[in-house]
């Protein structure tokens, strides 16, 4: 799996309990193979995913962060994903101003029926992140003593 340098990307995925998590489950029961680089964190809703979690992901050593939830109209709690969508629209802008690498933060709508999409999405993000290399910029900040 690893390339010449031995780099294996670490990816953390914050996913919704009602859709993407079941999509990942479906990928599993269908024996769809996807890279083992992704660590899935299950949350009740994309509306629950605090912006600090994304930052925390990078702090804990993630090279890319994924946020995935229900398609518009499918939210178990009616509107959690709509609220999340607004929040991420603005939060992305803030991260961009701060100089975070935006190609390491990914958003997707993956339903419980989309095991195939989950497989493809994770594979694509893993390959992209592998090409980008380790995300050192934020980790340098974390390690910087005052």
């Amino acid at each position: 799996m690893s390339d010449a340098t031995g780099f294996e990307p670490k990816i953390v995925a914050f996913v919704c309990n009602w859709c993407t998590y079941l999509g990942a489950d479906l990928a599993g029961t269908n024996r769809l193979e996807y890279p083992p680089n992704v660590r899935i964190v299950r949350l009740p809703c994309t509306g629950r995913i605090d912006f600090n979690l994304i930052i925390k992901g990078f702090e804990m050593g993630a090279d890319a962060v994924i946020v995935s939830g229900c398609h518009p109209g499918d939210c178990h709690y009616t509107a959690g994903n709509y609220h999340a969508r607004r929040r991420w629209t603005l939060f992305r802008e803030l991260l961009e101003t701060l100089g975070f690498e935006m190609d390491r933060i990914h958003f997707a709508w993956i339903s419980a029926a989309e095991g195939k999409k989950f497989q493809q999405f994770i594979t694509e993000i893993t390959e992209k992140t592998r090409a980008l290399g380790p995300y050192t910029a934020y980790r340098e900040i974390c390690e910087a003593a005052r």
Binding site: R86, R87, G99, F100, F107, C142, R146
Partner: protein, 284 residues
Amino acid sequence: MIDQLRQTCRKLLEEGAVNVVIGYGQDKPSMMPHPVFITKPEETERLVWNDLCFANLAAYVTRKEIKALGKPAVIVKGCDERALVVLEQESQFTRDGIYVIGMACDGVGNPRAAKCASCAVRTPRYADVTIGEAKPATPAADGEFAQLDEFMKKTPVERLAYWKSEFSRCVKCYACREVCPMCYCTRQGGRCLVDKNRPTAIDTSATLKGNLAWHIARAFHQAGRCVGCDECTRACPAGINLRLLNQSLAKAAGRAFAYKAGMDPETPPVIGSYSLEDKENFIQ
């Protein structure tokens, strides 16, 4: 203008229409005006008004100490009034629970503060009484977000390097929070997220990481709420340009949701509402 202001406030206090006037006082002409809280009619002579009245007094109306005094009258400029509008949207007070004295303002600071170049409200619109007359607002020649647009021309690596050097000076005095009218969590006996430690939500260590964590949290909790009064930037003893971060969120809210904080009390807050038609070109 000062006489009219003092008379208005004196009358309000004498009639008992309000219990306290939140205004500007100045100890010496050589000193900066500062907030004063006038409870007696004869003390209204202490009130001043000039182009150094920077402080956003909307920050005081949510304080429990002020609420304990009874109905306040608050002296606001156009930008401060936008903050009142946001606070009212967020049910921090009822409109008839406060008396708003609007000051027509041609800008503060000498030379004028950066925010005044793109001022949208020179004359407060929802005030109970408006004092003075201001020149009509003229849009800034190079756009409201000129400083931000210039900054965004840098590469992400340069931008991060800039913020690293800015935030390395942060001493976590939280002056940016204390002057902000939107940071009212601590003012009513509550706690700011950064002060909560069971569990710790935001790293509070005196390191670059802790400083960055605070500034991300502060900026994003202002998303769609910051009215751009720039008090945080003015209060910062380390001279950190917080204006840029606030502007990036204000610009995003304007571009994505056609929203400008504090312009219309009837519009639902941008975070806290949603539309089925919101754009999502960044979501796969």
